[in-house]
Subunit: 459 residues, 3 copies
């Protein structure tokens, strides 16, 4: 009797069990037949619910790739817009391929607690193929509560998210091909290795580190890679003056940036909600609803806090702060969106939204040039969200800090090495002329908005 | 034996019942165990279907917030684009927070028939928390056919829709902070009170008023608040000439407005389809499919009618009329999207789409300045759709009129008071200079499209 | 005993069967009662899963209409942008109405193998209406495994896709009303007739032609109609010089084109995944996950191949090639997205993406003016994808060729006749002055971006 079967005595699952009270022999037969899952849901329905939840959550997270593309398109200058679009669709593509080739298995293969495993290509296994051929369904269902490729699809869109974070920060000066090589390494190796520590059941999970949907594992990882890259590549030409003042290089298309933020917000329901990893019981469904609620309220808290704090600090309401406030709120709740007191989510999100109002100018003071504010919204808020689980979410604060620091140290060192090697070999940065001209003309030979005349503000 | 159990004799649910025919004692045990829902769906699956339908429908409706943001961004002038983006993301955030703090309970708390109830914060109750802890699932499932927060999430996105309607009409001259205070009152108090009359089981429901997904309760409510606001705030400077002629102030970015309309159309499948409020039986699923079909066909009818009528009346095909035709078609079918003769939906939507071709210029004649046409598309079409239920949808026409008038009177009076108080205290309108300069520079200190030179048409 | 019942002896479905081993009389009663579907899913849950999958997949495909609108808006010139937006929302509307009026029944009515059937209007039948009234659920569930209107909704969005393909190719010079008449014929008659050959169970299905989600039936059909139209209408004024050189007429808004591509990519999960046509068994769910995976990987392969091949051939990375590479990858896998070796999907998509890098300039050499590259991405890649099923997907290559050629011949002849009749009666093409001025001003009397000054590149 395997674990699934042992659990069938839960209420609602006990058609067979009830019979057993009166007619043992009959019940023995029936138990083998009416094969309920761990919940009161028939085992095959259970499998379908779980699989379908992965697919729906997955397509929502996939949609976040469009969100990053629009956010970044809106926040770069016109002359670099086509280039950032190309980087975004290319990095999403590469992330999927690399995660298929080696990444997924490296993260979830379970070889040891520091490194999941290694295997080329990830396809359905023999039991699943047999089931698809109509063989061995009962045994298959006892061993599998979802389709393997539905989980692959869901996890794959997460690695793409991590890569999307990087492209925004180092936009407007990084060369296309070296950046793509970085994405290959990040999505095929770096992300999976650190992911295996927690979600692959490795040493951080053993220690009790808690990161529900990836404040640290996805958002901070992208943020660390972005931060390291921004430092090694350097700031955009003309961004910082010798006297310490900063030249604003405002985004060219704020409605697109707004659209991108709404897309991210929508996709985040899949990101956090899908991280329940199951829909096959009433509890799973109720948890998913709780996660949706907290996700929405944290984002709302982030927006409101960013607007109010901007008004107080800068005496202005600010659209880009509000957008980054939404993202920071979302990132903040991602480590622990399973709070049953939703007021806490508003507060956690609001703190995340407030932090970035200070974090964005602080980075400028440090002359770290983050084009879209991704380091603030994903890394800083990701750290806050991971800590918050240790404060109000039932996690151990010390272990949360260990997780944050370990993942951070790993990402700083490894992505630093990769950026550095790319810098000294291929070169990471376009020429000064190309940067001046814009990457669209220099690298792609095209313009994003070829017919629009440019006004006096063009930089 | 509660109501759920009494209904378990439906076909497909009667494993236990069939046994009862031959072995009464055994069947008694089994009935307690195989606990089917009102449909032939096991009770826990029933709960999951219903909950998941709320979540999916909810994220579709949430997406409508992006639709309104894009529609309005596309239909205002460039100088007010960042401001309208900020208002949209802020109002969506505030709506969620207010509906959590007091709105949802006020609407569905059920204190009496004129006012749902009052309670601060809306969190999962003890029975649900116990279930999530693994206790008392059978009793919980008998008392709850969906997760409470999934319903909260679904209803919350509706109140945000009502608020979104307002921002478009009074764009380009309303101040940010007074507008946000209006949103606080609308989403926390006004919308929930009138909503309790029908969806909260209050006096309009008792009377037989029928509004499936909110032609009146959501769209007209937003429309009334917008109309009242437009009258109290006044028209944009330069919109109407002394001789009665109108200066066109065309939208700056029509592809964005088109995108916004498509987003709304997509979201409306959740809006209307999710308002079936259940997916746990074959009938629920079939009704949801019927609602999807009618929703799509009514929108299609609205588009085609708006284009044809525009061609006849203005001798021109017109994109913004087509877009508003789609929205009017959608609003028109929202009160009764459960028609089983789908031809009626095309007709209802087409009438909605045709009406706005006359309604939009009529408002201009009355010097009511509705920047995006929301009063026509949401209020006028909402009234038509609510009446249509009394004509072909099985509703009582007199009661439908009573519902329309009651909600209208309530909203005119209450939102009128709120707008007026804001006007005489904080002031509702930016200064003439700020309006001339544009809200983006005046209120936000930024531009939506800072690099694009502006042509001769800039107003 | 009908077919569904005969299949109830599958594992997991055999509560009754197991009982039969010990107590034949009791089991006979129980078998009638516990009415499991073909899978181990209770029959009413089975119906809900299938219906819900159609609705979710359907709204994803509906979203593709927005994708085409944005892609085409981004790839035309500013002066034709409002017109292409109008065409896209109008064609989606007309497609739905025509498919309701006659198209769906013509495709699936099953009169004979060359022509499905003819019947006006498509509404739920008597059995479904009775079920919705609470009558005859068991009999209804045995005869219906999904709601009829959920299937209508899903199939309807496919015909809209075919029409969307056409609008892009012949943009910037076709008149609005003749184009809409073409759409009426295409969606009401041409698409359904050829669709009946395969998906309506007609002669191509009998022969063994395999087209899972419509590389040929949807994408090539749109592509053939577009190609025929482009030839009959002729190239845009000034596109081709007498000396054989080509004047680039670059798209005006590349971030919108990027957004459109991401929308299509997202919608394609519904397009291909929903074409599993069921979700009611573990195998259905697992197949759907496999289809999602292949769809994503083929698109990714298309992007990467298009970028690399562009770099090699043109010495440039190219955004529009990458976008069309994604679409070509998606179209290529659409005929056979049920491969269990996902590496094949990457390869099939990559070949599709590589092909269009050669196909796009080839069409220009032939002076066939395809504004957005739709003939390459949908027709050429559609042929490749259909062939690929005969090469690695288990199909018969000869039969695949027969299917491609038959559908192609039918579409060339019939759409050629329609285009020709429209040309000699109403005229297909706007006047030279109108084309010069742009369709927005000439046909709609409006501008898509009225405030933006236009630079020197304006053509």
């Amino acid at each position: 009797m395997n674990k699934l079967k042992q659990l069938t005595l839960l209420a609602g699952t006990v058609g067979a069990a009830a019979l057993a009270l009166t007619q043992p022999a009959l019940a023995q037969e029936a138990e083998a037949a009416i094969d309920y899952a761990v919940s009161g849901v028939p085992i095959e329905s259970y499998y379908i619910f779980n699989t379908f939840a992965f697919l729906i959550s997955g397509f929502l997270v996939m949609w976040m790739a469009a969100g990053f593309a629009m956010l970044e398109s809106g926040l770069v200058r016109t002359k670099n817009t086509a280039a950032i679009c190309l980087k975004n669709i290319a990095l999403y593509s590469v992330a999927g391929i690399m995660y298929y080739l080696i990444g997924y298995y490296m993260m979830y293969g379970g070889m040891n607690s520091f490194f999941g495993g290694f295997s080329l290509l990830y396809n359905p296994g023999d039991a699943e193929l047999a089931m698809l051929d109509g063989e061995g369904l009962p045994a298959y269902l006892e061993g599998n509560s979802y389709s393997v490729m539905s989980d692959w699809f869901f996890q794959m869109v997460f690695v793409a998210t991590a890569a999307s974070i990087v492209s925004g920060t180092i936009a407007e000066r990084v060369k296309f091909w070296p950046f793509m090589i970085f994405v290959v390494v990040l999505t095929g190796v770096l992300y999976p290795i650190q992911g295996s520590w927690t979600w692959g059941g490795g040493w951080l999970t053993e220690m009790g580190f808690s990161d529900f949907a990836g404040s640290t594992i996805v958002h901070s990882v992208g943020g660390w890679a972005a931060l390291t890259g921004a430092i090694i590549i350097g700031a955009r030409k003309g961004k910082y003056n010798a006297d310490g003042t900063v030249n604003a290089m405002p985004g060219a298309n704020l409605p697109l940036a707004t659209l991108g933020t709404f897309i991210l917000w929508l996709g985040w329901f899949g990101f956090n909600g899908g991280s329940q990893l199951a829909l096959g019981s009433a509890a799973d469904a109720a948890w998913m609803a709780i996660v949706y609620t907290n996700t929405n309220l944290a984002a709302a808290g982030g927006v409101v806090a960013a607007i109010i704090v901007s008004q107080i600090v800068f005496k202005k309401i600010d659209l880009t702060m509000a957008l980054n406030g939404a993202i920071a709120g979302l990132v903040s709740i991602t480590a622990g969106p399973d709070l049953t007191n939703h007021l806490l989510s508003i507060i956690i999100g609001a703190i995340g939204g407030a932090i970035i109002v200070f974090s964005v100018p602080l980075l400028d003071k440090l002359k770290i040039d983050d084009v879209v504010g991704a380091v603030s919204a994903h890394l800083v808020a990701g750290i806050w969200g991971t800590l918050a689980v240790g404060i109000v979410g039932g996690g151990n604060l010390v272990v949360q800090v260990i997780g944050i620091v370990s993942v951070g140290a790993f990402m700083i060192v490894t992505s630093g090495i990769v950026w550095y090697v790319l810098k000294v070999t291929m070169g990471l940065r376009v020429s000064e002329e190309a940067e001046e001209m814009g990457l669209d003309k220099a690298e792609l030979g095209m313009e994003a908005y070829p017919e629009f005349g440019y006004g006096s503000q063009k930089i």
